[in-house]
Amino acid sequence: MTTDSEGDIDAENRSVRFVRHYALGREDLWQAFTDPQRLARWLGAVTGDMREHGRYGLDFGDGETTSGRITTCREPDQLTATWESPGEGTTQVDVHRSDTGTDTRVVLTHASLRPEDLPGYAAGWHTHLDHLDTDLNGHRASGWSERYNELLPRNTSHGPGVPATGQGSWAKDAPSLPPPTT
């Protein structure tokens, strides 16, 4: 029995990599990673053409759309696409599916990331894959940012609640309130 990975950061290749195992048939699993209706439940709102060479858009909520091109689409085993988030350059996502004999193994790799983006994407994909698990268990995934905050490494200079630049201080910058009317 292989253990699911919690996400490995490869600084040299500037990639994050996850290995997950699913008790799903190959078609069902392929749908979970390519069907816009399924993707909306654990990743984001997908538009466009999910076929090979097609261009897709992926909206995580505010309309600043991540986009890219499907570079490889070998149903039901491999999906590779470019991933272009505003301000982050062009990166590559690869989803590779295989049968282990007892279950289905998925290796998800997001490569060519900027070094400073590695911790954020590791936490982001981890959160999304957890949401996929929740969805596959028949529940509605929620609490994205809480889980993401938990997973974002605290051992870097970053981390929610500890702004790297120390500019943010809610208490310090809180607006002054009018005097009480007692």
Binding site: D62, E64, S85, N149, T165, L177, P180, T181
Partner: protein, 113 residues
Amino acid sequence: MLADPVRRRIVELLGGGERPAGEIAQALHVEFGISQPATSRHLRLLRESGVAVCTNHGAQRRYHLDRATLDVVATWLQDVRSFWHQRLDALDTELFRGRPANAVDELIEEDIS
């Protein structure tokens, strides 16, 4: 909604005026190390809860705080403060009344002297 430090920071940033989504994402990336998609999710929550408003300027999306929502929050805080001021004043009165008679006399003498 505002229990999240990243969303509080966005509100602080927008407190200085309207900002493009890209600028917010850049600031949060530097300060918190979060990715653009994560910022996108936070902005969505702030927009859906009525804290922030998004307007399109061509290809650029800009955010500002919703004054009406902020007024609701400020009024609520003021009401809460007012409530506790009244209760704490009542507590003062009660503690004063509850003193032994001689302690009250001493207090009055202190006030007079």
